[in-house]
Symmetry: C2
Subunit: 210 residues, 2 copies
């Protein structure tokens, strides 16, 4: 198995943190240099036509792109510890929270970052197609993330972890959302006491360094 | 179990089509009148604070919001026929395609629709927070969907169904993307022969009327 990675990017980090929580460390890791736009070169696009990282290539050459699809693969391959729920109800709750974190937090944080940073001028959307930046999305993304941090703080006042009473992929996505939002100077605030507690707990897990 | 629905909206339809494919028909269906913005009223927000449909409420009062989380629940509850993959590799492939359809097609189609339609002035994002429409997103969303239809056509030239050799949730999402994009007059074109073949096949399934 080969895992195509870029150390600094949030999406590959989601998959690496997931693998670290499972103790999976027999995957060959190959860096793709996003700094030099290597992901859009012919060589990498022959591996993953979407031109994105992460991508996992199985020993039979099957391509698994998208960080959550890679997590799904490892969850099925090695169910313990379960990071996507232990039964039908929990699996649905994890999926719900995972998607709410993505739709209300992670994607808006991406809107703010991609539409602001000069490095992404003319390529506001990941992948090979070129789209101009939309400055209004910088503002809207920020407002949406700030609102979502309030929701997350409220949730973490009622629940030890994001989706239920154990650590799951929804915690990984929420943790990396917060680190990623920090790149755009969107920060957890003093009023977010629950979120701060959970963030420090998550940051102290060995997988946070993966 | 109660399923909060709005007949015309694309997200509840994804869950209804999924249930229909599984032959699940013992769920109480309750219409929420999005035409009158009932989803943002106190009564419905006491059920689903996100103010979105669909939402499933289990007999123990657990809330499962988000269409794909509802599908996940039914997949685990009643595995046959499998609509999310039959083994680790397939589950990962389904997740990959499902997400590519959503990120590259379904969400951009939503951008175009929500930021254009006058009914959504001041509420360009689903849910209780108000955000102004961004006209540039109408154009960008359309361009992205049109590009994604080319990708989907190419995929359906190589594969009978979107994710692999059987019908899955990725086909449901792609089918409803196409119907939804039609609301913004984004259409499958004559050059998309594979996509046309697959679209007609999918439209003729009984679940397409769910």
């Amino acid at each position: 198995m080969k895992f195509y990675d870029f150390k600094a990017a949030p999406n590959p980090r989601r998959a690496r943190m997931f693998m670290a929580e499972k103790g999976i460390n027999d995957v060959e890791i190959i860096q793709v240099d996003l700094g030099n736009v290597e992901q859009l070169g012919n060589e990498y696009r022959a591996i993953n036509p979407s031109g994105t990282v992460p991508a996992l290539v199985l020993d039979d050459d099957t391509l698994i792109a998208e960080s959550v699809a890679i997590c799904r693969y490892f969850e099925e391959l090695q169910p313990l510890p379960p990071l996507m729920g232990r039964n039908a109800k929990e699996k649905a709750q994890v999926e719900m929270w995972q998607r709410q974190v993505e739709l209300q937090g992670y994607l808006p944080a991406g809107d703010t970052f991609r539409n602001h940073n000069k490095r992404f001028a003319g390529r506001a959307i990941p992948g090979p197609e070129n789209y101009e930046q939309i400055p209004e999305l910088v503002v809207r993304g920020r407002a949406r993330v700030e609102h979502f941090l309030d929701i997350l703080d409220q949730r973490l006042g009622a629940s030890e972890f994001v989706a239920n009473d154990v650590f799951t992929i929804a915690d990984i996505t929420a943790f990396i959302l917060i680190e990623f939002a920090g790149w755009s100077k969107i920060a957890v605030q003093e009023k977010h006491a629950n979120l701060q507690r959970w963030y420090q707990d998550t940051k102290s897990r060995p997988s946070a360094d993966a």
